[in-house]
């Protein structure tokens, strides 16, 4: 079996369709939309006309994210030999990752059942593999920060958002399932935080590199400000649950700031590209 499997080689059946970040970035509508709609964001809520459909799409994203989290944790069990060296992973870490695989597999099953409940078929929406891509770092500590702190941290935010959606709509099944999965994700982040401290206790440079890598991934996972603390953020940063998972207040503040940066950069890019497009159209006329 290969080590360090690239996302292109992940096994999927014919129901799944991939969509890349690049394809979405190249969508000309991103800049052609009317100015008042271009940078519009809306919190996920049943009051939105498209609220239940938006929740269905997010639930499908959670489902594919759970598959990738399973694959990411599973690869950590396999990709590194057992040991304490820089390219190795301690046996106890692999045991934790194996336990996480079991949790993620259960989450996949729960997500499929929630999809059925919400009226979504497997493969109804495209899959993006950017979560797994963050789980491919060749340094086990950096991979751990990518998967267990950034990816699973995003999972905390998303599950909490879905849990709040369920509370507002009164959906007992969704609320119950999200609550249980959220508890698992808090444990996964806590495992990541604990292992990061243990493995880098005598190596401050490695810890700094890992935290820097986490920042990069956290900014990527802010999805242009879709995850953040602003009133209109579709996915809310779940401070309380992040604290329970071992994030310090200043670390959460930093993620909030990265999200805001990501939002500003995307908005600015769109405005710039729209202005360029308008200028080109005026030139043609």
């Amino acid at each position: 079996m290969k080590h360090a499997l690239p996302s292109e080689e992940l096994a999927r059946d014919e129901r799944f369709v991939r969509n890349s970040f690049m394809a979405r970035a190249a969508d000309p509508r991103v800049t052609a939309m009317p100015a008042e709609k271009r940078n519009q964001r809306m919190p996920l809520s049943p009051d939105r006309a498209d609220g239940p459909d938006a929740a269905r799409a997010l639930m499908h994203g959670i489902f594919t994210g759970e598959i990738q989290a399973l694959e990411g944790a599973g690869r950590t069990c396999w990709d590194f030999p057992i040991g304490d060296g820089p390219d190795e992973a301690p046996f106890e870490l692999k045991l934790d990752m194996a336990r996480q695989c079991w949790d993620e597999a259960r989450h996949c099953e729960i997500s499929v059942k929630l999809g059925d409940w919400m009226g979504t078929e497997i493969g109804e929406f495209a899959e993006s593999t950017f979560l797994y891509d963050a789980a491919c770092n060749p340094d086990p500590v950096l991979r751990l920060t990518g998967v267990n702190r950034a990816l699973e941290g995003l999972a905390i935010d998303v599950f909490n958002t879905m849990r709040e959606f369920a509370e507002k709509s009164g959906d007992p099944l969704l609320g119950y399932c999200e609550d249980w999965m959220l508890a698992d994700e808090v444990t996964h982040v806590k495992m990541g935080s604990d292992w990061l401290r243990r493995l880098t206790a005598d190596d401050p440079d490695r810890r700094a590199r890992a935290l820097e890598f986490q920042k990069v991934v956290d900014k990527l996972f802010s999805i242009g400000g879709a995850r953040g603390e602003e009133d209109d953020s579709p996915i809310r940063l779940a401070r309380r649950f992040r604290e329970l998972a071992g994030f310090r207040t200043e670390e959460i503040d930093e993620i909030a700031e990265l999200s805001l940066q990501s939002r500003r950069e995307l908005d600015s890019y769109r405005e710039h590209a729209a202005a360029k497009q308008a200028a080109a159209a005026a030139g043609e006329a």
Partner: protein, 184 residues
């Protein structure tokens, strides 16, 4: 039956205008738009959101944001199923509005979300019986979100979904009864 779809060629999405025209004509005939009557569909291809509304009942004019016709698995590509679902629902509601027996319907902007969703269920249930995929579970989930996860709401949904010859008063009563059970 004639349909016109604008724009005639799309530059931002990979939609085939003749394919949309053909699907609109097929659906219009299926739901019972009188032969010889034109259906006009105006697509705003710049907006990847799935909103659509009936701009005019007579003549029949539908205004659609591009996302409503888009395949959720293949961005920018046309989904004929989405065209059928959106156009079929709006045309059935246009025919409802024209029917004296259906009763007076408020302007779209004055219809509360719960009533709007209940009317959508009634329309899509009819489309399902005409052979289209109505995505029943998706619809009941949307209905429960607005009317409560209760037995009363599910019973109201079933009566809307299976309903024939319902009136606007029937639809709003079923919706209001479900809402009352949610809050009561």
């Amino acid at each position: 039956m004639a349909a016109s779809v604008s724009p005639e060629s799309f530059t931002m999405v990979l939609f085939d205008q003749p394919a949309i025209v053909a699907e609109v004509e097929r659906i219009a005939a299926l739901v019972g738009v009188p032969s010889g009557e034109e259906v006009r569909v105006v697509v705003d291809e710049a907006v990847p959101v799935a909103r659509a509304h009936l701009a005019s009942v007579d003549p029949l004019v539908l205004e659609v944001e591009g996302g409503a016709f888009e395949d959720p698995r293949h961005p920018r590509q046309l989904s004929e199923a989405a065209v059928a679902d959106t156009v079929g629902r709006l045309l059935l509601q246009a025919l409802d509005r024209r029917s004296a027996a259906f009763g007076e319907v408020p302007a779209d902007v004055d219809i509360p979300l719960a009533h709007r969703v209940a009317w959508d269920v009634y329309a899509v249930g009819r489309l399902q019986r005409l052979g289209l995929d109505g995505q029943r579970q998706r619809r009941i989930y949307g209905f429960r979100n607005r009317h409560g996860f209760t037995d009363v709401a599910d019973e109201a949904f079933a009566r809307l979904w299976d309903g024939t010859d319902l009136t606007w008063a029937d639809i709003t009563r079923l919706s209001d009864d479900a809402l009352a059970a949610r809050t009561g």
